[in-house]
Structures are given as C-alpha cells and as structure tokens.
C-alpha cells in the first residue's frame, strides 16, 4: 500500500500533479455553481422588485 503512495520514489510528482488537477476541477465546479446561483439570486431579486412594491425588505434566501 505504501508502495502505491511512494510510486517508486516519484510519489511526490505523481500525487501533486493529480492532486492539483483534482483541486482545480473541484474549484471550477464550485465557481461555476456559485456563479449560476448568484445569477439566479439576482434574477429573483429583480423579479421580486418588479412585482411586489417595496414595503418590506426582500428576504435573502440562503442558497
């Protein structure tokens, strides 16, 4: 098992390469999702303002 992690001495290279790529992928998934959510939230607020006259502050729903 430890042999798997060490990769015959080159473990640092292989794992840092795979690790960084995985981290970047996860980051990108999170960023894309966050952008989408934020856009939907802004659209919600816009729609809310258009229909309901502002008597109360619009409730910010936590995504």
């Amino acid at each position: 098992m430890s042999e798997f992690f060490l990769m015959n001495g080159d473990g640092a290279y292989v794992w840092s390469a795979y690790g960084l790529t995985l981290a970047v992928l996860i980051l990108n998934v999170w960023l894309a999702r966050a952008k989408h959510r934020a856009a939907l939230q802004r659209a919600r607020e816009l729609a809310g303002q258009a229909q309901v006259p502002r008597r109360q502050p619009t409730v910010r729903r936590v995504q």
Partner: protein
Amino acid sequence: MTMKLPRWFHQLGSPPYVYRLADRLCPWLGAIGVILLAVGSVWGLVIAPADYQQDEVYRIIYIHPQTAYIGMMAYVVMAVAAAIGYVWRLKLAHAVAVSAAPIGAWFTFCALFTGAVWGRPTWGTYWQWGDPRIMFEALLLFLFLGYLALRGAFDDRDKADRVTAILAVVGVVNVPIVHYSVEWWNSLHQTSTLLDEGGPAMTTDMLIPFLIMILAFTLTFYWLLLRRLQAEIIEREGDARWIRELVGEGAP
C-alpha cells in the same frame, strides 16, 4: 442570407431554449464525467502497468496531455463563438465565449503545472525557457488572461464582447502553433504519439485509460461551460419574462 436553416439552428439562438437544454444535459455530462474521471484515474494510477522507461512517473500521461488538449479546445470554442457573435451579432455566441475563457485558463494552468512536475524527474528540469511547446502553451495562458483582463476593463458589455472577439480570433493562430511546435522545432517534448500514421504508439492497456481521461475531461469541460453559460444568460437577459417565470417556479 435566405438559406433554409434547420429548426434546431434557430433554436440555438434562443436563450431560454439553450438554458433549458443546458439544464437537461448537465446532469448527464456531470454524472458520466465524474464516473469516467474516477474510472480513468484508477485505471491510470493502479491498473495500468509501469512504463519501462519512466517507471511510475509516466502516469501523469493520463492527465497532462488531456488538460492541455482541453485548454486548446476551450480556446477554439471561445474564438469560434466570439467570431460567430461578432459577425452575426448573436449575444448567445458571445456568452459562450465569455464562459469558455476562465475554464480554458484553468485547464491550461493545469497543463503547465502537470507538465512541469512531469518534467522534473524525466528531463531534469521543471521549466525550460525556450522549449517551444512550453513557451507557446504559456502564451496560450497569457492569451486567456489577456482576454479576461480586456473584458473586465470595459463597462459596456456589448463593446467588451466585440473588442475581445477580435483579440480571441487573432490569438487562435497560437493553437496550431502549440500543436505543431514539437514538429517544427527541436524540443524536449516528444512528437505526437496518438495521431501518427500507422496508429497510436501506445500499448492498448495504456491507450484505453488515456482515451477515457480525454473523454472524461471533455465532458467535464462542457458541464462547466454550460453552467457558466447559464449564469451568463441570466445576467444578460435581466428581467425578461421567461427568467421571471424560471425563478418564480421555485428554487432549482
């Protein structure tokens, strides 16, 4: 132009249609993409045999060329979309270009990083100034960053779209240069193993995870692209009716 274009072509110009199409496609792209990433990684890291020259470190071959390829594909997608948006004044095409840029930049960064990490044990150096493929790949990253920087500098979105479209198209010449640089110059890189005449120069048990990872990263790219595109569409459509109906239907 009075060509009779198929219906789906027109539909692709309609933001609500594309938005809903993305909603339908993304779960599949995401699921299959994740599965393929997992399968490909395990296969590449565990199942595939060690290389007789490079021992275990060669396993980076299952992520480095793939991220580089996706980065280049992202640029082409960006340039083509930007060109279409410029010529036919299609907001949706510009939205695709904007969405592709950051993803392409990240993948190109991964390509450079994994390449450097691979280069150290195999060539003895993390970075080789003057190696043509490294230099032009770095140039690709700079082009992405330049595109994003230029975009951000404009207040007027339409103007930003069209100005950056010119930059994107001018820069697309770099993509074939990256690819052919190893053939045109002496380079630390080896020449293409996949597209040689006479078939790939890789054994099957290495070729399969290689191709799986290409497909996996491609699907992941398009998932990311579609999600960003959806966000971009919403931003651009503002308080259009179909958007109000979309968000009124409850949280997605």
